[in-house]
């Protein structure tokens, strides 16, 4: 998880496979950040969730949003973009479907908290890298040598 309110900063998260990258930006406060979550629910390892809540969707999102609020972001202004949740099993089925379950868990937490996703690029079988430009809120994705705006 990385946050910034410095206009020249670009927050980056690399190698989003089944993990999800959640970019959140407040265009008025020019505050934003990226959360990189790895697992859908903290119940699989509550001790680890206490040490690092940002690893899990259900504990990471509340902690992340609260950090953003502490930097001056306001919920009603937030622009939320999501990427990742892929299956990188080289054509084999991902029996535990971590990427898919991460995304379902995320949607559930967002729905409960009334948060809408403005743009997303999830699923597929390629790893992604996500960039958030703090000056503009622009979000870029690179994947398999290609780049796109989100």
């Amino acid at each position: 998880m990385k946050l910034s309110n410095q206009s020249g900063d670009v927050v980056v998260t690399h190698a989003l496979g089944s993990c999800l990258g959640v970019s959140v930006y407040d265009p008025q406060a020019h505050v934003g950040g990226i959360l990189h979550v790895m697992m859908p629910v903290s119940s699989v390892n509550p001790d680890k969730a206490k040490l690092n809540p940002f690893m899990f969707v259900d504990t990471g999102l509340p902690a992340f949003f609260k950090k953003l609020y502490s930097l001056g972001a306001q919920k009603k202004r937030l622009i939320v973009k999501v990427a990742g949740g892929a299956n990188l099993q080289n054509g084999n089925s991902d029996r535990f479907a971590i990427g898919k379950r991460n995304y379902i868990s995320l949607k559930k937490v967002f729905w409960k908290n009334g948060v809408l996703i403005q743009a997303e690029d999830v699923g597929g079988d390629k790893a992604r890298t996500m960039y958030l430009h703090i000056d503009s809120g622009r979000v870029r994705l690179t994947s398999a040598g290609r780049e796109r705006e989100l």
């Binding site: 509340p62 609020y69 919920k75 029996r95 479907a97 937490v109 908290n113």
Partner: protein, 135 residues
């Protein structure tokens, strides 16, 4: 209370998958025992202190349905929580398992589904949700 679980399936790979899934549920697990058919499953029940059985249907020697019928006829195991885990699942067959007081989970299954089914059948809440999920 940690759950001692019996996994009955003729495929060692499937048993390993079920055990891995159980470990991902966050349920408090005690001992996990394995059997490759209903007959071996009944022998394990005799030897071990089992709280819950996950049972496949199609197995050699003794299939899952025969195993569950046998254990329900024994007062010792009449109320043992049993979950049938199978790719098969015709309505009539599921209803037969319901009459035997067993729950049904389709393969493939997610840890959340397994956890929810175990909590339903045992009537216990094992996995606590994080208390602070609002933001």
């Amino acid at each position: 209370m940690a759950l001692n679980i019996l996994v009955v399936d003729d495929s060692s790979i499937t048993r390993a998958m079920i055990i891995k899934t159980l470990k991902m549920t966050g349920l408090p697990l005690g001992e996990i025992h394995q059997a490759s058919n209903g007959w071996e499953g009944l022998a394990q029940l005799e030897k071990q202190n089992i709280d819950l059985a996950l049972v496949d249907i199609n197995m050699p020697v003794m299939n899952g349905e025969e195993m569950i019928e046998t254990l329900r006829s024994n007062p010792k195991w009449a109320s043992l929580p049993v979950i049938v885990v199978s790719t098969e699942g015709s309505r009539t067959r599921i209803e037969r398992f319901q009459r035997l007081d067993a729950k049904f989970v389709h393969k493939p299954f997610s840890p959340e589904v397994v956890c929810q089914t175990i909590e339903q059948i045992t009537g216990q809440r094992y996995v606590s949700q994080p208390s602070d999920t609002e933001f």
